[in-house]
């Protein structure tokens, strides 16, 4: 379970940092069993930004929880380096969709949290926390409480808090879902810049096509119920990128193509939810 076994080979020598092999998850509901994730396999390469996109209800969040080690009871395996994920893994840092900052802690204390858990000495803790607070652009807000910040700022606190633990893979579940479109584009820029700086391997779960194309190197499109892998799309947009990429013809073509894949799935999802009403 320790990090020791991962220290043998340098990261760049390995073909992938994380792989999911035949991952499936079934839920028992009142209307019978529902297959949320059906036999999904994929690899995440070092330094890449991979997005998983799918309509609401396709099992994206289930996949997020399985990879994060918070849903132990599933079929198939998730491996990080050479280790099978059986619970929360130190190499995987999670950022949640919901409001997840601790309201009773200041920004800097929020960011220090994972380091406290790992018993990092206080001076080092504060140094590291300040570094990542700067990185997400929240310098000057160290001593504020989350209630004094905007939703976008709170989500950046959550991202800094996860980055401070220096995970090999940053795993995010629709971190910007609650934000408005403009804030989302600007935060996308921030994420691109951070990823550029840290060469951070990132796995993003999202339902937002623009966001996925803006940020990703590859996009995994999922089907609606059961959640299967529909297509893997390579995004060959130049890096370093900013939100300006949104206006390029290539961007539009990718969006159109992914929407082409998603349209059928999304409309099946919509029919389902209308029938349930």
């Amino acid at each position: 379970m320790s990090q020791a076994s991962g220290s043998g080979t340098p990261m760049s020598d390995r073909k992938h940092v994380l792989s999911a092999d035949n991952v499936s998850k079934k839920f028992d509901t009142a209307e019978g069993p529902v297959v949320a994730v059906d036999n999904i396999s994929f690899d995440v390469r070092p330094g890449e930004f991979l997005s998983v996109i799918g309509p609401s209800g396709c099992g994206k969040s289930t996949l997020f929880n399985i990879i994060g080690g918070l849903t132990p009871d599933h079929d198939g395996t998730v491996t990080v380096g050479n280790e099978v994920v059986r619970g929360p893994h130190p190499s995987i840092g999670m950022v949640f969709q919901e409001e997840s900052t601790f309201p009773w802690r200041t920004v800097i204390d929020n960011v220090c949290f994972p380091l406290e858990i790992a018993h990092v000495p206080k001076a080092e803790r504060l140094d590291k926390a300040r570094h990542f607070i700067n990185l997400v652009g929240l310098n000057g807000f160290e001593n504020r409480h989350p209630s004094e910040l905007s939703g976008g700022m709170r989500q950046r606190v959550a991202i800094a808090r996860t980055l401070v633990s220096q995970p090999k893979i940053l795993l995010m579940d629709e971190p910007f879902a609650a934000l408005d479109e403009q804030t989302r584009l600007l935060l996308g820029d921030k994420v691109l810049q951070i990823q550029q700086e840290l060469k951070q391997t990132t796995l993003l779960i999202t339902h937002n096509i623009t966001e996925a194309v803006q940020l990703s190197d590859r996009i995994l499109v999922m089907t609606y119920r059961p959640g299967k892998l529909k297509r893997m799309v390579d995004i060959d947009l130049p890096r370093p990128r900013t939100s300006d990429v949104v206006s390029s013809p290539a961007f539009g073509a990718y969006v159109a193509r992914i929407w082409g894949d998603l349209r059928e799935e999304a409309s099946r999802g919509m029919q389902d939810s209308e029938r349930a009403r």
Binding site: G68, G69, L70, G87, P88, P90, I92, G93, M94, F96, E98, E99, S100, F102, P103, W104, R105, F113, P114, E116, I117, A118, H145, P146, S147, E148, S150, S165
Partner: protein, 262 residues
């Protein structure tokens, strides 16, 4: 923008604060005036409604006697012991009931039904078990404050935002770290509210017991003054009791309840 809003809010609150304060003062002054008119009019027995001046002198005499402070000390010690015992047992019970759906469903009805029962009916039993002295008073106070504290701890345990627990787990916090760094701070505001409620009820339970059967404490002094029909002294004691309750509440209020929420 946010700070400007905050300033406006604060200014409005301060403005409202003056208005609220004025209403309070007007009410207090008119109550005192009504009292004084009643006392001077002779409509009621003078001894039952003594003039404010007489009560004032009785208060001065009371506050300069050593026996008063000794008895006040006894009552405070009883209330604190009651709160410590009833509060810690109540908190642990609440955590158990809130943390386990099974225990919550199985046992919480008892607490709901016993909660509103006047605890004074247990006083004879408490006297038999713990004697006429402070023991039975502490027991009464503890039994009284157990209920609100247990219920508020159970509720706060259930209200914890589950995403915060998932955050803790994702960073691989152990059980102790989860308790100290997530559960306790998340529960603090509503548990503090429960303790404030419990303190009030512990004071009621303890004093009620003191006035029934005792040989020391403020409740005892009040009954003593009443039995010799020393009304000014009795009112003076009641005033000190108000001051004690207000002070106790303020102290608990300082220790939390108003943490910055979301």
């Amino acid at each position: 923008m946010a700070s400007a809003d905050g300033m406006k809010g604060r200014a409005r609150a301060a403005g409202a604060g003056i208005g609220v304060m004025q209403v309070r003062i007007v009410l207090l002054v008119s109550l005192l005036a009504a009292w004084e008119i009643m006392a001077r009019s002779g409509l009621l027995y003078r001894d039952v409604v003594p003039p404010l001046e007489t009560i004032g002198w009785a208060l001065v005499v009371l506050l300069s006697s050593q026996a008063f402070y000794w008895n006040l000390g006894v009552t405070i010690a009883e209330v604190l012991a009651a709160l410590a015992i009833g509060g810690s047992v109540g908190f642990m019970t609440g955590v158990l009931l809130g943390g386990s759906r099974f225990f919550g469903r199985a046992l919480e009805p008892y607490i709901y039904y016993l909660g509103p029962t006047p605890k004074i009916i247990f006083f004879p039993i408490m006297i038999m078990w713990f004697g006429v002295g402070p023991g039975s008073k502490i027991a009464m106070g503890a039994v009284s404050c157990f209920f609100p504290i247990a219920l508020s701890a159970a509720a706060s345990m259930r209200q914890i935002d589950t995403v915060l627990i998932r955050v803790g787990r994702s960073f691989r916090a152990n059980g102790w770290q989860m308790a100290m760094k997530i559960y306790l701070p998340a529960m603090r505001p509503s548990v503090m509210n429960g303790i404030r409620l419990g303190l009030g009820i512990a004071i009621i339970g303890t004093l009620l017991a003191e006035t029934k059967l005792s040989n020391r404490g403020i409740g005892y002094l009040i009954m003593q003054a009443y039995s010799i029909f020393d009304m000014p002294r009795m009112y003076a004691l009641l005033i000190t009791l108000f001051a004690f309750a207000i002070g106790a509440n303020a102290i608990v209020g300082r220790f939390g309840g108003h943490t910055t929420g979301k």
